[in-house]
């Protein structure tokens, strides 16, 4: 759905974005991860034609993105930085303005208000809204044209826990409906919860771009299991005597295995020795670890 080729942007004579080759597959939910100042918003502005790239191209739905190609904008909705709202108007009136510009029938206003959970405050002035309500109304604005592609910059920024859950569920629903979503965030958890694809951006360079599964596979973790027990010393001794390599970390034992099926043999061994097992957990690759792996590796290489 989105493809960039060697996209570069200079900021005050310095390269702000370095030869970005981003690929957001159609129907995916793509999370652009990066610290504050990594270039996420600049990248999104470049994709939308709000900034002119110094080098490279952007393609949206196989069409070269250019601010003159207005029909491309008909297929997308975007929310960049703070939600664009007129505080002296009501929520309904704010949406009505965009409907007028985009020739959208007014019943759509009620639908998007419902989607973001703001139906009850449609006639309330936006100036009285909390940050979270404004953010949700901003999302409603981007949803008005029922877009194929949604570009959301830090969609849960400034939201209270309830708002975060609403927006997260909304993103999930939209993704399930087949929409392509590109969202940026510095919150690893949000990306992990919502996205099936991820891009890791640091200092304007894309360190990784691809599916979450592929990312996890790339980072091969040792095969083994975490075991929690009330008798860790006994368990460790027993397993070591049987030839297993065991490490103790934070009151838990990590038992290295030849293959995943071997975990049953380990459990049987411990049970037969009357060792009380509290928990057995297979290691899971966390996005946080992967993010740190890529960013720290990049820092070390520079």
């Amino acid at each position: 759905m989105i493809q960039t080729r060697n996209l570069s942007f200079f900021y005050r004579k310095k390269k702000g974005i370095h030869q970005l080759n981003l690929h957001v597959p159609r129907g995916s939910c793509y999370g652009l991860l990066g610290q504050n100042g990594a270039g996420k918003t600049t990248t999104m502005k470049l994709l939308l034609g709000l900034l002119k790239a110094d080098e490279g191209e952007v393609y949206i739905a196989d069409q070269l993105m250019d601010s003159r190609q207005l029909h491309v904008y008909q297929r997308l909705g975007a929310l960049i930085e703070d939600p664009p709202l007129y505080p002296y108007l009501t929520a309904y009136e704010n949406l009505e303005i965009t409907c007028t510009y985009r020739a959208i029938a007014s019943p759509r206003i009620g639908e998007v208000m419902e989607m973001v959970g703001l139906s009850d405050v449609a006639q309330q002035r936006v100036g009285t809204f909390s940050t979270g309500m404004k953010q949700r109304l901003g999302m409603a604005l981007s949803l008005l044209p029922d877009p194929e592609l949604l570009i959301l910059d830090e969609p849960v920024n400034g939201l209270d826990p309830e708002g975060i859950v609403t927006v997260r569920e909304l993103i999930r629903t939209l993704h399930q409906e087949g929409k392509t979503i590109l969202l940026s965030s510095h919150l690893l958890y949000e990306v992990e919860q919502n996205c099936d694809h991820v891009g890791i951006l640091q200092k304007g360079r894309l360190l990784y771009s691809g599916s979450m599964d592929k990312l996890r596979q790339q980072q091969a973790l040792p095969v083994g299991v975490w075991i929690s027990t009330l008798q860790p010393a006994q368990a460790r001794q027993l397993l070591s005597d049987k030839g297993y390599r065991v490490e103790k970390k934070e009151n838990r034992l990590f038992v290295y295995l030849e293959d995943e099926a071997a975990s049953n043999r380990v459990i049987d061994l411990l049970r037969n020795a009357d060792i009380d097992i509290r928990e057995v957990v297979r290691p899971k690759v966390r996005l946080e670890d992967l993010y740190l792996f890529f960013t720290q590796k990049d820092t070390a290489e520079q």
Partner: protein, 255 residues
């Protein structure tokens, strides 16, 4: 064309309840009330001469008093406010991705600013006529109820007012669009207007758009409906309108 009309209607929605709307309503009403008070308590200085149409004095008094300072200032503030709401609330990043061309966005806003001033002027005329009726009752010696209003002169004044402000408005609108700061936009306009009011005797003053509202009332009763000043003002309107569009199309949003 349809999307241009839609953009114009969207501007109308934005103006509802905005500071620009309240300023136009309250400012115009305030000026009329102030004039009414002056004329109400004034002595014989406003009495028409024996051979004079009673409305001439009245209309010219209102127009001369407003054209010299209030009209240019009003146009400067309106242009600045109409652009400022977009700067202030970060609307450009939204407006640039809603499938409406930048040319249409710019021109619809400029045209709306002009129409807004025209409607505010109509409101000014209505209020002026109401105040004339009130004065006619309480100060019959002014003769305002003795004869019908001089609508020919009124229309001429209104028409020339709107034409004379056009060039300045387009220039001021461009400045307001270019600079995010309301103070900068306002400052440029006020400086332009003050310089012109100091240079009124300069032979080429007519070529400065900020001077047009200061000059158009000279000999207005005998002047043609559309004189060289009005033509020049409209010329500036188109030139600055086009330059503004070209500049607006190049605009990049801050990082």
């Amino acid at each position: 064309m349809k999307s241009f009309i839609r953009a114009l209607i969207a501007e109308y929605h934005k103006a509802n309840n905005s500071l620009a709307m309240w300023l136009a309503l309250l400012g115009t009403s305030g000026i009329i009330v102030a004039f009414l008070a002056v004329l109400f308590f004034g002595t014989t200085e406003f009495l028409p001469q024996a051979d004079e149409h009673p409305w001439h004095n009245f209309l010219l008094l209102y127009y001369e008093a407003t054209a010299f300072m209030l009209l240019p200032l009003f146009a400067i503030i309106m242009a600045a406010l109409i652009c400022y709401i977009e700067h202030r609330y970060g609307m450009w990043k939204h407006l640039f991705v809603i499938a409406v061309s930048r040319t249409q966005i710019y021109l619809s806003k400029l045209l709306f600013a002009y129409l807004f001033i025209a409607v505010a002027h109509l409101f000014f005329i209505s209020m002026m006529l109401i105040s004339a009726a009130i004065l006619g009752v309480f100060r019959p010696e002014l003769g305002l109820l003795d004869q019908e209003p001089d609508f020919a002169l009124l229309l001429k004044l209104a028409f020339k007012t709107l034409l004379s402000v056009a060039g300045m408005l387009a220039l001021q609108f461009w400045v307001s669009m270019r600079f995010r700061s309301f103070i900068v936009a306002l400052g440029v306009g006020v400086i332009g207007f003050v310089i012109c009011s100091l240079l009124l005797e300069w032979p080429y003053i007519m070529y400065i758009p900020y001077a047009h509202p200061l000059l158009y009332l000279e000999g207005v009763t005998n002047a043609p409906l559309v004189g060289s000043l009005e033509v020049l003002s409209m010329g500036y309107f188109f030139v600055f309108g086009i330059l503004g569009v070209l500049d607006f199309k190049r605009l990049q949003l801050g990082i």
